[in-house]
Subunit: 162 residues, 2 copies
DNA sequence: ATGTGTGCAAAGAGTTTGCACAGCC
DNA sequence: GGCTGTGCAAACTCTTTGCACACAT
């Protein structure tokens, strides 16, 4: 038993499928091949997928899916609380599962753009406290720290010696 | 003496002017009317100015400044550490003073897009701790919490009664 | 005099939209 | 059958770039 309590648990996909289904019923939306394919691909994709990456994966299975459909489906997922839209510094919109359990935050290297995820309960707790203080009902958050990763620090100090 | 320790102190503009000047000398860049005007307008502008807003203010003083110049100058400010580039959810790039002293974070209403700033030392402390744990040298951070503000909550509950 | 900075307009990148046809309920 | 969804291409928005001229140094 070496697992720590916050090691990523597999996300509860059923919960999200239900959420999506309810939203679609409520709005009278239809279940199509493309939507199912895109949604399942999204569920199976790594965190922070860009539309481009997702489209590539979708087209591997069905080459004639248009990118507009991917955009529209991801918007839909964002609307019903299944996905979270995120923009880091690179001008791309990325999506991640709105997984309440894994509220990971990000440490981003300003040199090599590597993204490291971390979780820190004490920050979550503080956030809830702050939201309450200002009377907000919290829906989500982004916490990104920008810095130089150990590898790039080493690279830089090596370069300085030459 | 009702002031709390974290009420915004006026930013130390001299420090930023020096930073910018050194950067320009080092890179052999030139001081022009437009750059001075844009930089000073930025210094006097509210936090989170968009390019559009800044351009409007700049043109109020000199109508023939092109928007490309504003983009280029803000990029310059970001490069030399005077300004921070930020993207919230609205697809616009906004800039703010890279004021180390006022490391405020943001509470953003998902209904009305209002942005509330707050400061919380304990979060800053935790961040430093986390960065150290992963060996990162921290340069900056973004911390945005998304939720429903008290006004919009009231509006929503009023609407529910009708 | 040299070379950077500017303004304009055009090009790019990412995203959204209009439309005719396809396909779900 | 009616109405939503799709794919395509065009439109849009924000940002970047190329170029000829202006202007710091």
């Amino acid at each position: 038993m070496k697992q720590k309590p916050h090691t990523h648990a597999p996300p509860n996909l059923e919960h999200f499928r239900t959420l999506l289904h309810q939203h679609m019923v409520k709005k009278g939306l239809r279940s199509t091949d493309q939507r199912r394919l895109i949604v399942e691909t999204f569920f199976g994709a790594p965190n922070h997928v860009s539309i481009e990456e997702l489209l590539a994966q979708v087209r591997a299975r069905d080459p004639k899916v248009g990118y507009a459909t991917v955009y529209r489906t991801l918007k839909l997922l964002a609307e019903c609380g299944v996905a979270l839209e995120r923009r880091f510094g690179d001008g791309l919109t990325r999506y991640e599962l709105a997984d309440e359990q894994s509220h990971h935050d990000h440490l981003i290297c300003v040199e090599c753009d590597k993204i490291l995820e971390f979780e820190e309960d004490r920050i979550e707790v503080l956030q809830d406290e702050i939201a309450k203080k200002y009377g907000y009902i919290l829906k989500s958050h982004k916490h990104e720290m920008y810095g130089v990763c150990p590898e790039c620090q080493a690279k830089a100090s090596r370069a300085r010696k030459n």
